[in-house]
Symmetry: C2
Subunit: 151 residues, 2 copies
């Protein structure tokens, strides 16, 4: 990663925290940075590892919770009982998540990520039901894994 990119990310991190009225602390900067430096979604344990030994596990729990509350990251539920977190897009704000994209879990590389360009479809519910958030998780083979020759 170039020096320029590092600088850009640092700026983004600070801007995000300020915009959400969060004080700028080491753990928040580090964890946001981790999200910005890669594209996939991260499970709690991934974040702990990437952060190194620098932060207490409890701090990671609390920081992630704060970010979810503020609408900075969102939760992607998966069937293996390990929720993952991914950055929200700009439209999200406190108490009001606006994530209308779908999520993809690759069966080959196990990565989870947002497909920001694929919007969640309209779901026609039976009479009497009213829909709030619609979560779509597609499991399959991602672009990268599909284009590589089979091992």
């Amino acid at each position: 990663m170039s020096k320029k990119t590092v600088k850009l990310i640092a700026n983004q991190v600070e801007a995000l925290l300020k915009r959400n009225n969060l004080s700028i602390t080491g753990s928040r900067k580090k964890i946001l940075q981790i999200f910005l430096e890669q594209t996939g979604a991260l499970a709690h344990v991934n974040i702990e590892k990437k952060a190194g030994e620098k932060f207490d596990r409890v701090t990671v729990y609390r920081t992630l919770q704060t970010f979810v509350d503020k609408g900075i990251i969102h939760i992607i539920p998966t069937a293996d009982n390990s929720i993952r977190y991914a950055l929200c897009k700009d439209e999200c704000s406190e108490g009001h998540h606006q994530d209308h994209h779908i999520h993809f879990v690759c069966n080959n590389c196990s990565k989870t990520f947002c497909l920001d360009d694929v919007v969640t479809p309209e779901i026609k519910l039976p009479a009497g039901y009213s829909a709030g958030h619609v979560e779509v998780v597609v499991e399959g083979i991602c672009k990268k894994c599909g284009s590589q020759s089979p091992k």
Copy 2:
């Protein structure tokens, strides 16, 4: 529940186990019975409670895992990090789940259940991606809660 219904469920339970080449044991009968006696999806903890003190927690874990493997129940992932289990329809079989319906979580009564009549929509993925299973979880107000006068 009428005597007749109880008998019917008992028959279903045994049939299901036999069809899947599972030996008929107390815990398996009890846990399947719990699923058949109600419509919603159940979290591990619900099942433990409903089963009373009769079975070891470990047995519940193992039994649920067996049922998932055999295609008798399926997992519904939810964002609160507590997966729930629901009965599969007949088309499921070992190693080959065929659940093409969507799942609904009520924000009022917190119940989770399958909407068997609502099939998962086609998702148009970007080039290079191939889709396997598509999981749709809709969060909103269920029929029952919506029809009741507000508290």
